[in-house]
């Protein structure tokens, strides 16, 4: 199992007599010859022992020259060495794969991997190369079976959408994040290098201890702590560049004018003045080129850690600056983290403090026009218009004449400055007392405070003739969110012979308070950007929220002879979000595990199969993620009007929305059966799970009829039931051939999502608006997946009037407005007309399966890692194409329009016609595309300096690397990025009903990142 190696071997065999105390010196090193400080060296069968110093050196007096030393250190296989009379030894320890997985973090404690009964995936820091990712979750993409992570494009500091085991709920599918025991809203602000491990609790049994908020799974994050006997400094730095990974082609000025003229001619309408002479227009402005750039990013972290027997510490600080590939956009982040652990007698005290300061420079919205943000505007802005106009207020040119009101994206980026700053303090302290042997009381207090500040300044401008802003505007708001956590737990752990019992009872109280204050004014003097200087358009506002959750929890783990394990968990939660009769929910679960490998009958196979466990669990979890105060109807103030001969403000107030007084907890019932295998000394590990997760009473704001008069804010109801069934597997293989070490990993997840029934009135929920004016693209209804695409299907192009005439029902033309060259739509219900009733199922935004695979390998001083990840079988509605291929708006078009149908040139692309009487450009399956992709997520090559060089420059270790993110993506999807997410989704996720809809107004294209980095340890 363990290779013993002797690098130095001074043979002084039996030179001394065997009885006198015998001094021995040695050095403990790791597989790469690095020093291992703090390793324990004990003479076997005695209490004699010591630990290695910072350089891995130790010295010890041996009782005799035939003693055997036992050397152990966390993360390495324990080794025994017979001294055989030698005075100097070098002991080389090997990584212990089993040891790495030994302890699993579970809610309110840790467990031996053997005792785990639930579906838990663990990722250690060593397994991921996070250096190229600005946020933690992106580095997890594809690495954890059952966890789907969608990045939301390339905007700096962006969040991601994390879905564990499919979309079970319709309102909120975000997992619960716990950082060192404290719940946080998101983990985007964590420095990836601060993280020691992720443990993803996927099934009900594992997550049950978090009851109420765990229905979407739990991600437990443990940050790095110090180690006994260690005293080290770590410095990491990287510098990189990001480039736009994919560009969407649009027409140049001359091409645009040609298409525009054809579209007007075919409609019998006068041509636009600006398009009159296509041949003289040339290429015009390439708006995309004007807004994108190659953007630098850099990151520096410095950490100090160490400790003694009773005290460990880890202190780290970091700085990240990531400019966006869209000019002006930027993100930076400062981090400071301290984690210590102190033990004195029966008492253990520790804390984690994480302070973060973040800054975002975002981009303007659509300025009230129809182009959306600068990314959307750059696609649709007509290339005839000019970027700059020195005579205009603000200095920018723009659209004029009877064209669609789309703003100059360069002007949008420069003339409006939206900035967000956020300061977060995550404080968590605990005190643990051993009351009697095996019984511990723990008090955990957490406090998270987030102070947010937003400022949006707009310069005075005249951009073209359609956009102008007479006075400078300034809008600011400040918000404060304080979360308080109080947890009391009693933990009892005892071994009685072959019986092992762990029991936990606890009480937790969580209180979240939020308040916001906003103000805005206009008319500040030039260069002044404070509200005091404003003179007009004065407005202010503010509001507050508070929610409380209190819970009683208990867990019992019993294992017999390391063979049979049973876990029972119960949690009772009370939430302030429900009415008096519905506040509490009870969430029990039970799980069983059988360590087959420990059975005596399994002995013969021990050499081949080193681990085999079968697990099964069933449990109920809850979800209360709806806004506060939704169970009582409220009166909305400020529904104001004007009154009197002098036209004064008439303050209004009235009920504007309905409430559901009997709204109650959403519950999620999960059945899970899984198995863990280890082969050949655990070189090959396999985990596979099958699960059925059924969410009932799903909390959802189901749209109510417009005729109710309160459709603006639909009430939350318990709307129905959704089932996710799936399998997830993860495979790891570690091996070593000579000096070549490698690890191969792969994950595979297939989830089937189905709505069982909806109790919503219509039994259908529409969603997924793909463009500024487009009809909805998705319908969620019983029997199908959430957010399924339901679209009018197309059947090619009418090539002649005869074909149009032939398409009739009882002599009545199905498409009476059609002309040759128009799209033929499928009259699915055969009623002789094309309308929304002809929408048919066209696919799901949920992949049939997702996967990831990659490798970490090293040879001598070199290391290489790469990771691929992808999805298969999902569809994406390309909203940008619906706009760019329409030829019915006065905006820029796609190059595909150059191939439009004409009477002399029949193609499969509809004719250009500006008034589009046949609605060729309506929401239809024309714009639905395959969303499958395979992406090389990361590729990294590293070089570690050799020992000789290191000692010469007095370093413990030093590694250089070059890393690439998103190097290439293989996909048929023609939009920016098949891995959608939605721009403003942030950490809280966008609407699940819009999941597969690519809405160009809020996009931010994905970046390809290349970076150079160094990791130094002193």
């Amino acid at each position: 199992m363990v290779t013993q190696s002797f690098v130095d071997n001074y043979l002084l065999a039996n030179a001394y007599a065997a009885q006198a105390p015998l001094p021995v010196k040695g050095r403990v090193v790791g597989p790469n010859n690095e020093s291992i400080p703090g390793a324990t060296v004990v003479v076997k069968g005695t209490t004699l022992g010591t630990t290695s110093d910072e350089s891995g050196n130790f010295s010890l007096n041996l009782p005799d020259g035939n003693a055997t030393l036992v050397i152990s250190s966390i993360g390495f296989a324990t080794q025994e060495i017979a001294v055989n009379g030698r005075a100097t030894l070098t002991i080389s320890l090997q990584n212990d794969v089993k040891a790495l997985n030994d302890v699993v973090v579970v809610g309110y404690g840790t467990q031996r991997r053997e005792d785990v009964t639930g579906a838990i995936s663990s990722i250690k820091a060593e397994d991921i190369r996070t250096q190229g990712s600005n946020t933690v979750q992106k580095s997890l993409q594809g690495r954890v079976a059952g966890v789907q992570i969608e990045s939301s494009g390339g905007d700096p500091g962006s969040g991601v959408r994390v879905v564990i085991r499919g979309a079970g709920s319709l309102n909120n599918n975000n997992p619960l994040y716990i950082v060192d025991g404290v719940q946080v809203d998101n983990i985007n602000n964590l420095q990836p290098t601060d993280i020691a491990s992720f443990d993803v609790l996927k099934d009900a049994s594992a997550a049950a201890i978090y009851g109420s908020r765990a229905a979407n799974g739990v991600i437990l994050i443990t940050t790095k702590g110090g180690k006994k006997g260690e005293n080290r400094l770590d410095f990491n730095a990287y510098y990189g560049v990001q480039q736009q990974a994919k560009k969407i082609d649009v027409l140049n000025a001359s091409q645009w004018a040609t298409v525009s003229n054809a579209a007007h001619d075919n409609a019998g309408l006068p041509r636009l003045d600006i398009a009159k002479n296509p041949e003289t227009l040339g290429a015009g402005t390439d708006w995309q080129k004007e807004i994108y750039r190659t953007a630098p990013m850099q990151n520096y972290t410095l950490g100090a850690s160490g400790g003694s027997d009773n005290f460990t510490y880890s202190l780290s600080g970091g700085y990240l600056d990531q400019q966006g590939i869209v000019k002006k956009t930027d993100y930076d982040r400062w981090n400071l983290r301290l984690k210590t652990d102190f033990t004195k007698g029966r008492v253990r005290i520790g804390e984690t403090i994480i302070l973060t300061r973040e800054y975002w420079r975002g981009m303007a919205g659509g300025w009230g026009g129809q182009g959306g943000n600068p990314v959307g505007s750059a696609l649709k802005m007509i290339p005839v218009f000019q970027v700059y106009d020195p005579t205009a207020v603000g200095g920018y040119g723009g659209a004029y004449g009877p064209v669609t009101n789309i703003a100059n994206p360069v002007a949008q980026l420069n003339l409006e400055v939206p900035e967000t700053r956020s300061t977060t303090a995550i404080l968590n302290g605990f005190a643990e007392v051993s009351i009697v042997d095996g019984l511990k009381y723990r008090l955990n207090l957490g406090y998270t405070s987030t102070f947010g500040s937003y400022s949006d300044y707009a310069y005075p401008y005249t951009v073209g003739t359609l956009f102008n802003n007479a006075d400078p505007d300034l809008a600011q708001n400040k918000s404060e969110r304080n979360y308080f956590l109080q947890e009391h737990t009693l933990n009892y752990s005892k071994v009685f012979g072959k019986h092992n019992v762990q029991a936990l009872v606890g009480y937790t109280y969580q209180d979240t308070k939020y308040n916001a204050l906003s103000g805005s004014k206009s008319g500040m003097p030039n260069g002044i950007q404070v509200l005091d200087a404003g003179t007009t358009n004065i407005a202010s506002g503010g509001y507050a929220y508070e929610s409380v959750l209190l819970s009683y929890l208990g867990r019992l783990v019993y294992s017999y002879d390391n063979r049979y394990v049973v876990t029972g968990t119960f949690r009772r939660d009370g939430s302030s979000r429900f009415g008096p009769a519905y506040k509490y929910g009870n969430f029990p679960s039970v799980a069983l595990a059988w360590n087959v490998v420990n059975e005596s009958f399994f002995k013969p196979l021990e050499g081949v199969i080193t681990n085999l466990k079968i697990r099964g669990s069933y449990g109920i979890l809850g979800n209360q993620e709806i806004p506060d105060y939704r169970y009582v109807p409220l009166i909305s103030a400020n529904t104001n009007y004007v009154i009197g001969q002098t036209q004064q403000l008439w303050p209004g107030a009235i009920q504007t929305a309905f409430a559901t007084p009997d709204i109650k907890w959403e519950t999620s019932k999960t059945f899970d059966i899984g198995t863990d295998w280890g082969f050949l000394d655990n070189k090959l590990n396999l985990t596979a799970d099958y699960f059925v997760r059924r969410n009932s009473d799903i909390l959802l704001q189901v749209p109510i009829p417009l005729s109710s008069g309160a459709s603006g804010t639909s009430p939350y109801i318990n709307a129905g039931q959704i089932t996710n069934k799936g399998i997830e597997t993860a495979l790891t293989y570690n091996n070593k051939v000579g000096e070549f070490n490698y690890q191969l990993t792969g994950t595979f997840t297939a989830i089937q999502n189905n709505v069982d029934f909806l109790g919503t009135g219509t039994q259908q929920i529409s969603g997924g608006q793909p463009t500024h004016h487009g009809a909805s693209a998705t319908i969620t209804q019983a029997g199908g997946p959430v957010g399924a695409f339901y679209l009018i299907k197309t059947a090619g192009i009418f090539n002649s009037q005869d074909e149009i005439n032939a398409y009739n029902v009882d002599g009545k033309l199905v498409q009476p407005g059609a002309k040759p060259g128009d799209v033929k739509f499928v009259d699915a219900n055969g009623d002789g007309q094309i309308d929304q009733n002809d929408r048919q199922y066209c696919g799901s935004p949920t992949p049939k399966f997702t996967y990831g695979f990659g490798s970490n390998a090293s040879w001598r001083s070199f290391d290489l890692s790469f990771f691929f990840q992808g999805t298969y079988g999902n569809k994406i509605y390309n909203g940008a194409r619906e706009d760019l291929e329409s030829m019915s708006v006065e905006a820029n078009y796609s190059p595909a329009t150059l191939n439009a149908w004409t009477p002399d040139h029949h193609t499969d692309f509809p004719r250009a016609v500006i008034n589009d009487p046949n609605l060729n450009a309506q929401t239809s399956d024309r714009f639905l595309e395959s969303g499958s992709y395979l992406r090389l997520r990361t590729l990294q090559l590293g070089y570690t300096l050799s020992k000789g060089v290191l000692s010469a420059i007095k370093l413990n270790s030093c590694r250089f690397y070059i890393s690439f993110d998103n190097l290439f993506t293989i996909t048929k999807y023609t939009g920016f990025n098949p891995d959608l997410g939605r721009y403003n989704a942030g950490a809280t996720g966008g609407g699940i009903l819009d999941r597969g809809v690519d809405f160009p107004h809020v996009a931010y294209p994905l970046a390809r990142t290349s970076l150079l980095g160094v990791q130094v340890s002193f």
Binding site: H488, S520, A539, L550, Q647, I654, P705, S707
Partner: protein, 504 residues
């Protein structure tokens, strides 16, 4: 062991925190504590009136004005806001957004009316106040149903606040029933509303407003006899107001459409617009909402930073030129309604030649524009939107008489309108048909951009003929089904009991 006891006690003592589970909103009061005082009801009424000028859903807000006028033979909408372009070119379908907006707005008003109507009798306020608030809400509800009937025809009739979820899903009633609901609400309004208000409350619905809308509702149903009975209460045979009412035509036609003469003597009911409240006209229903409208900015020409979304057609321009005023000049209303290339023509304090006619039509729009200013300022127009003018009462009354074969009795009423326009009095002896032609002609000129033309043509049965003979872009796509809007897709998607309108 002692420690275990202490720890257990500590855990148990935490039960006290359970009271914190009862959280109430610090931001709003709850419905059950509202509707107690006069102030509550007045606030509720303010919230009910205000829906009419909402930026997206208001029938008299910018999208409403564009939606209701844009389909007329006198109107062109440019290809900017796709929904509006589709509407004005008759290529819209149920997913086209803006009719859904006004549908939503009208029912939002109805929901709010229903709250007032239900809650007033349950409160302890003085019975006179109760009566008036209910009458006011009934007038508003009647107006909303009136507009639903003319725009959508057959729609759900909702007169109660939903109690349970099933109550949200109401099926359609025939158009005649919708009219009956409008009539009964307007009758109740007329019975309970005061003739006038003190200055501080001017702008609220009056008895005259309710009668006027009631008469108009009868006209739309061609119930001439009932219409006549109502109009008689408002106007004398010579066109002067019937006591106690004091309505009269403003001497200057243009004063109906400028901010300095809001709530004037010609107005029976109008939507109050003023740049008070917050600073943003698009903010939605909150403290930031500016209470003016953006319509004038959207209609203003690009040369003064407007979005030139609309244009009058040449059909209208030529209709104005058909009859010259006394003295040989054009109809006085033409100058208040349009601007074109005439000697000395000024627009936003610039000569007309500084403006470009981009759509091939001959004139730009002055009516309801702040065209005496240099531009439309900060987007927010203060000009009140007229719902019902005395000129409309006179012309509807005239039509009511003419349609009963009494064209001669209509003459003095028509002449009131003509005289103000500086046209000569009508020659005596016009036949019914001739008088109706004159009334149609006058209504087209008098009410351009006042949301009447399309609906007048519809009730006269002339929609197809007049749209097809016009120079309106998209006229070739007109079909009879466009007389009504389709039931919006948003309603079809959410209400299992609804059905689409005929032809859609």
């Amino acid at each position: 062991m002692k420690r275990i006891v202490y720890a257990s006690l500590l855990v148990l003592s935490l039960g006290a925190c359970t009271k914190n589970l009862d959280q109430v909103s610090p931001n709003s009061i709850v419905q059950s504590t509202f509707w107690k005082t006069d102030a509550d009801f007045l606030s509720g009424l303010a919230a009910t009136y205000k829906v009419f000028h909402d930026v997206n859903n208001g029938y008299y807000g910018v999208r409403g004005i564009e939606t209701t006028n844009g389909r007329g033979d006198d109107f062109f909408i440019r290809n900017d806001v796709k929904d509006l372009y589709q509407l004005s070119t008759f290529t819209n379908n149920p997913t086209t957004g803006t009719p859904g907006g006004i549908f939503t707005g009208l029912y939002t008003g109805i929901f709010r009316c229903n709250q007032v109507i239900e809650q007033a009798p349950l409160s302890d306020i003085a019975s006179d106040s109760k009566k008036q608030y209910v009458a006011e809400a009934q007038f508003l509800r009647g107006l909303n149903y009136f507009l639903l009937a003319t725009n959508f025809g057959s729609v759900p009739i909702i007169t109660k606040v939903p109690v349970q979820r099933a109550d949200y899903f109401v099926s359609k009633s025939p158009e005649a029933d919708v009219w009956a609901q409008a009539v009964s609400d307007l009758q109740a309004g007329a019975a309970g509303l005061p003739v006038s208000y003190p200055s501080a409350w001017v702008g609220r619905a009056t008895k005259g407003a309710a009668l006027g809308m009631l008469g108009k509702a009868y006209v739309y149903q061609k119930n001439w006899a009932e219409a006549e009975k109502v109009f008689k209460q408002l106007a004398q045979p010579d066109g002067t107001a019937q006591a106690p009412y004091t309505y009269a035509l403003m001497a200057n036609f243009e004063d109906n459409f400028s901010k300095g003469s809001d709530n004037n003597v010609e107005s029976l009911f109008e939507i109050q617009n003023q740049n008070v409240g917050g600073s943003q006209p698009w903010a939605g229903e909150n403290a930031n909402e500016a209470l003016g409208v953006t319509t004038a900015q959207e209609f203003a020409p690009t040369e003064v930073a407007g979005w030139f979304e609309v244009s009058p057609t040449d059909k209208l321009f030529n209709e104005f030129k058909l009859e010259k005023a006394v003295g040989g000049d054009y109809d006085a209303r033409m100058y208040a309604t349009l601007v074109w290339d005439y000697p000395g023509a000024m627009y936003y304090n610039k000569p007309f030649k500084d403006f470009k006619l981009v759509f091939g039509y001959s004139a730009l729009i002055r009516k309801y524009q702040n065209w005496h200013d240099n531009n439309e300022g900060i987007w927010i127009s203060d000009i009140n939107e007229k719902v019902l003018r005395y000129a409309d009462i006179l012309l509807l009354y005239a039509e009511t008489l003419t349609m009963q074969g009494r064209a001669s009795e209509a003459m003095p009423l028509l002449n009131k309108v003509r005289t103000r326009a500086k046209l000569a009095a009508l020659a005596a002896g016009l036949s019914t048909a001739q008088m109706m032609t004159e009334i149609r002609h006058q209504r087209m000129l008098e009410f351009f951009r006042e949301g009447q033309r399309f609906y007048d043509l519809k009730r006269w049965g002339l929609l197809e003929q007049e749209i097809k003979n016009s120079d309106k872009v998209g006229k070739e796509f007109f079909a009879p089904k466009f007389a009504y809007f389709p039931i919006p897709q948003g309603e079809l998607n959410t209400n299992p009991n609804i059905t689409q309108n005929t032809g859609w």
